[in-house]
């Protein structure tokens, strides 16, 4: 269970929030001139990012406002929350090296359960 820092209300338990899908997907204003494929891209297609992901949350039992979050889906680390209409801030995140890779720590997955030799040498 996360603690989410609502831009309006501050840090609250995740149970107050509702997930609302990928962020920064603007509803097309000229849909009449779009092909079926283009429209389907908006309606149906979402990225399934492993790593830094901009997503929307709704503070359903708080201020009832939607807002954006930058979350590392590989580790569940929340890097930033920001308001609707704002651009995602630049953040430094420990990201998986490849689509099949892992963040260096935090996923609990097999590949990162045990320290590497390099990490041991550095620590």
């Amino acid at each position: 269970m996360f603690v989410i820092d609502c831009p309006n209300c501050g840090a609250r338990d995740q149970s107050e929030f509702t997930y609302a899908g990928e962020a920064h997907i603007a509803r097309p204003t000229d849909s009449e001139n779009m092909t079926d494929a283009e429209w389907a891209e908006f309606v149906f297609m979402r990225t399934n990012t492993k790593g830094l992901f901009a997503e929307r949350w709704w503070h359903a039992t708080g201020c009832r406002k939607f807002f954006n979050m930058l979350r590392n889906t590989a580790t569940d680390e929340i890097h930033a929350v920001y308001r609707i209409g704002e651009k995602p801030p630049k953040v430094t995140a420990d990201l998986p090296a490849t689509p099949a890779g892992e963040a260096s720590i935090g996923s609990g997955n097999d590949a990162v359960k045990i320290m590497t030799r390099d990490e041991e040498a550095a620590s």
Binding site: R27, T29, W39, G108
Partner: protein
């Protein structure tokens, strides 16, 4: 004296208070402070149960939460009996009733032991290979065997009656959570507490002190004090701080994201009946959000894996010490030590100091610590260096061990000799208890000296201290604990200064000098060696080796194939040994093999405790309308709709549900009916752009809806599928009252807020949910006008003055009401909205006024029936998220000329304009008495063809209509709109399909007459 294994003067039990309990019906005497395990051992009982697969005798191996297999069933009440309780963790009390598990007819004569005789035929993957893969059994499938296999395996028996106990969960925030109250945890908590931080200290057992309770009280001092006095000092200091909470009998079972830790407190399990406070729950879950966590969870000793190492009487060396020093029980009369490290030698010294007999120390190592060897010599203990136990003897308890010396390559050399003993204290080293650290997603590090994993890199706000961090010397443990407490408090923004550490003096063995030996040689071929790794699941070293040979090289796959570590103990003492054996089999290192995943919960948690207060009526709180009590008084039948409980029908005494629905539906069309419509979702929409907003969220046009008028609206998703419907009234040009379906109220509000906030923030529109603010009574039928007129003031109900699809303000007894002349039945209908607190009063006014006119309350079932007669859809019944307005043949509700609205573009997608889509139609069965089943499939032939059967569609609603005197049904049928008058067949399971004619779904229109 009974309790022949009790050592006078030793242990922390209260010898002034005798407590006895029963084990398999026999009375077992013990003392207050005993666990079931220590009391059993005091009486010479070491065998407790039988293993999972082979039904081999299983004894007590550990002294606490580490024990793998010594579990019992507590109590025999079918409601409260508690299976799989570890004897090492449950304190005894008067009236406690324990029984051995997984054995029949009795512990010592068990029929399932035949599995043991055939053990050679049950290697790793036996079930998969035999029942799923083998040609011999292909004619039978796995499902045939599974119930038999399940019955043969298995542990305790689940209760069969509802749980009579109560549970609760509480939420806590703290600055520093310290898990484990051994020396490191106590030092951490005491130092963090000095800062004024809010500290929670959690201890799994019934007393603070951890490993200090298991040390020889005469061998160690801390700051000049005996360990027990130091513990008492620390406890007293913690009690001085008001912000400190100390929880004993409490296990941290899960470390989740963002320092969220689950604790399970056993509040009453350990108490006798008369001391159980009725106001307290049986168990309590603490949901703790900690700023900082200190893990002080200690280390878990691992056994050595040697031939015939699973007999009762083979115990961890540390457990022998714990039973001796904490519980005053020496578990054997003649104890043989078997080890590959120094720590087990302490067990020999403690036994001698307590006056017990040591049969010898069998040590796998060649190089021995000289001082230690001298100490053994002085104590008169025989030492066998470079020697292994290669076998054991004894059926329900060992009576001897066979030892052989080893050559330079570690192989068995020469003959076996026999050493008589009734207890083998074994140690293969110590594994830092990293379960919670790993759950927190920290990275482990392989420690060569321990030959085990310990915490490496932290991921969350935690730090490990003491034995769980791989630190075993007491002075260091205290230093690490203190430092961890200080750092945690500072990281939580508190200020605290370090104080001088107490000096530790001890003659205890604190060195390890471990030489890892993952499997002790037996001198026998592999198939004849019974060297157990996992004592609960009966996994042998040879099973792991076989799995490796068969190609299992992932540790996670090997675990699942062999069931290593999959029991209730989750491999606490066995997993690292298993990894070592896998590594040897593959010729790689243990860290290269890796670890299995440490998952929550750390220890089994009662499902009742996780459910907490959320059981029965509290599982999902139900909402009732202001009129709810009236419905209850009328003994209505209720149904859940969304979060609400709605009256489904009001049967009169002796009347069946079906008859009640028929009567209610008939009355609504012949005299008058009244429905509690309060649950409809209501959203108040205000702002100068409200009209524009409605145009964008509904399919139809709202530009010209004048104040005082109402309109039905269809709402779509962007995929073009119907998601909600309802009537919206224009209150003023900048003010609308929207109604939604009962179940959709919350999701519609979320969706509207979403568009408003994220897509159209420029619109001046404000949404407020007012579902709870208005109570609604809907009166319909031929007498409705008369009834409403006698109650509502200030409105002329003449249809000329108050036409269909308009609303007006009025009053009832001076209370303002809004009356909507809308209809969900096809009858003249008035939906009277009144501030919610007047709901029941208004309802009773209407009931009284309607009595002379035959006004009949009707429930949701009659409501469904009435609307189906009129052909009105219910979103979620006729629709399922794949249905467009066109599919409903409601194109009239879609404005062609207005601008964009949600889902508009999707209505011209290639998929939504297909001409073979399913469309909504009415169905009239040829036999008008037959009511089809909702959901039944529709086919095009009188007989059901061979599968795959071509399906034309399905029945969405079906009722017997009292007003039409026959059955009616609505259905989604392929190209339904073009099939008017055609006959289709409704398939039935195990029965002949039923013919039905396709008609328009407005059954009150011409449909029925035309079909006749």
């Amino acid at each position: 004296m009974s309790q022949p294994y009790r050592i006078p003067g030793r242990g922390l039990i209260n010898r002034d208070r005798s407590v006895s309990f029963t084990f398999d019906g026999r009375e077992i005497p013990g003392y207050e402070g005993d666990t079931i395990a220590s009391a059993l051992l005091a009486n010479g009982e070491i065998m407790v149960g039988r293993s999972f697969k082979y039904h081999r005798p299983r004894g007590i191996v550990g002294a606490g939460g580490d024990d793998p297999a010594a579990m019992v069933q507590i109590g025999s009440d079918p409601a409260s009996t508690d299976p799989n309780v570890m004897v090492t963790t449950r304190e005894i009390h008067a009236g406690l009733e324990a029984r051995s598990q997984n054995c029949w007819p009795s512990l010592k004569h068990d029929v399932g032991v035949l599995n043991d005789v055939f053990m050679r035929f049950f290697p790793a993957g036996f079930y998969y290979k035999t029942f799923m893969g083998s040609d011999r059994f292909r004619w039978l499938n796995w499902m045939t065997f599974e119930p038999f296999i399940r019955r043969a395996a298995g542990l305790g028996k689940s209760p069969t009656k509802p749980d009579p106990d109560s549970y609760e969960s509480v939420n806590r925030h703290c600055d520093v959570l310290v898990i484990g109250a051994g020396p490191a945890g106590l030092a951490a908590a005491a130092n963090a507490a000095r800062s004024g931080a809010r500290v929670i200290l959690v201890e799994e057992t019934d007393r603070l002190g951890g490993s200090l309770n298991a040390t020889d009280p005469d061998g160690t001092t801390i700051g000049g004090k005996a360990p027990a006095d130091w513990i008492a000092d620390q406890t007293a200091k913690l009690a001085e701080h008001p912000e400190v909470t100390v929880l004993t009998q409490t296990t941290a079972f899960g470390y989740y994201a963002m320092n969220f830790v689950g604790l399970i407190e056993r509040v009453k399990d350990h108490l006798p009946e008369h001391r159980r406070d009725r106001r307290q729950p049986r168990q309590r879950v603490w949901r703790v959000r900690a700023k900082q966590v200190v893990l002080a969870t200690g280390a878990i000793e691992r056994p050595l894996v040697f031939n015939e190492n699973d007999r009762p009487g083979i115990m961890l060396a540390g457990a022998v010490r714990t039973f001796l020093n904490r519980y005053g029980v020496l578990a054997g009369k003649r104890v043989l030590i078997f080890t590959n490290n120094d720590s087990a030698w302490q067990t020999a010294f403690d036994i001698r100091a307590a006056g017990g007999e040591v049969a010898g120390i069998v040590d796998l190592r060649r190089e021995l610590n000289e001082a230690m060897a001298l100490r053994a010599l002085k104590a008169g203990i025989a030492v066998y260096p470079r020697t292994a136990i290669v076998g054991t003897h004894g059926r329900h308890r060992i009576d001897s061990a066979f030892v052989s010396s080893l050559d330079d390559n570690g192989n068995v050399r020469g003959s076996r000799s026999r050493i008589e003993c009734d207890l083998i204290a074994v140690s293969g080293g110590w594994n830092p208890n990293v379960a919670l650290f790993a759950q927190s997603r920290g990275k482990l590090k392989w420690d060569e000296e321990l030959a085990s994993f310990r915490p490496g890199l932290s991921w969350q706000q935690e730090r490990s201290a003491g034995a769980c961090n791989g630190t075993l010397e007491l002075q260091e443990v205290l230093a690490e604990g203190s430092k961890a407490g200080l750092e945690a408090a500072r990281a939580a923004d508190f200020t605290v200064r370090a104080i001088r550490q107490p000096e530790v003096r001890t003659d205890a063995v604190e060195t390890l000098n471990l030489v890892p030996v993952w499997q002790v040689p037996s001198g026998l071929p592999r198939e004849k060696t019974k060297a157990f790794v996992d004592l609960q699941d009966d996994v042998k070293a040879s099973d792991l080796q076989l799995a490796t040979e068969e190609g299992y090289d992932s540790v996670e796959h090997t675990k699942r194939y062999t069931t290593q570590g999959m029991g209730t103990d989750q491999g606490k003492i066995s997993n690292v040994n298993a990894f070592g054996i896998m590594a040897e089999a593959r010729g790689i290192t243990v860290p290269e093999v890796g670890t299995t995943t440490f998952r929550q919960p750390y220890r089994p948690v009662t499902i009742g405790a996780l459910g907490g207060q959320h059981v029965g009526a509290h599982f999902m709180p139900r909402r009732g309308t202001p009129m709810h009590a009236w419905h209850l008084e009328q003994k209505a039948i209720f149904e859940p709709v969304g979060d609400w409980l709605r009256a489904r029908a009001y049967p009169k005494p002796g009347e069946s549900f079906h008859d009640a629905v028929q009567r209610e539906a008939k009355a609504a069309r012949t005299t008058a009916g009244i429905l509690d419509a309060t649950t409809l979702g209501k959203i108040d929409i205000r702002g100068k752009d409200a009209r524009t907003f409605l145009n964008r969220v509904y399919t139809n046009a709202w530009s010209k809806l004048a104040p005082g008028r109402c309109r039905y609206g269809l709402m779509l998703g962007e995929d073009g599928m119907v998601s909600d419907d309802g009537v919206t009234a224009c209150i003023a040009d900048d003010h609308f009252h929207m109604t939604t379906t009962t179940g959709g109220a919350a999701s519609v509000l979320q969706k509207l807020e979403d568009y408003l906030q994220t897509e159209w923030p420029d619109l001046d529109v404000w949404l407020t949910t007012v579902t709870e603010q208005w109570a609604v009574a809907a009166v319909c039928g031929p007498k409705a006008e008369e009834i409403v007129a006698s109650v509502v003031e200030g409105i002329d109900l003449d249809p000329e003055e108050f036409p269909f699809m308009t609303w007006q303000d009025g009053t009832v007894g001076g209370i303002p009401v809004r009356v909507f002349r809308v209809s969900f039945t096809g009858e003249t209908s008035y939906e009277i909205n009144i501030p919610a607190t007047y709901g029941r009063w208004l309802w009773e006014e209407l009931i009284a006024a309607g009595k002379p006119h035959g006004l009949t309350p009707y429930g949701t079932e009659a409501m469904h029936l009435l609307r189906a007669e009129k052909g009105f859809i219910i979103v979620g019944q006729e629709t399922d998220g794949t249905v467009t307005p066109g599919d409903l043949r409601m194109d009239w509700a879609v404005a062609k000329k207005k601008g964009d609205f949600i889902g508009k573009r999707s209505l011209s997608r290639s998929d939504t304009v297909r001409d073979d889509r399913k469309q909504l139609v009415g169905l009239l069965t040829v036999d008008g008495d037959h009511v089809p089943m909702e959901g039944a499939q529709i086919i095009g032939t009188p007989e059901e063809p061979a599968p795959p059967v071509p399906m034309l569609g399905h029945v969405t609603s079906a009722y017997f209509s009292p007003n039409l005197g026959r059955s009616i049904a609505m259905a989604m049928v392929k190209r339904g709109g073009q099939r008017m008058g055609e006959t289709v067949w409704i398939a039935r399971l195990g029965d002949k399909p039923v013919p039905a004619k396709i008609v328009h779904y407005d059954f009150l229109g011409d449909a029925v007459g035309e079909a006749a």
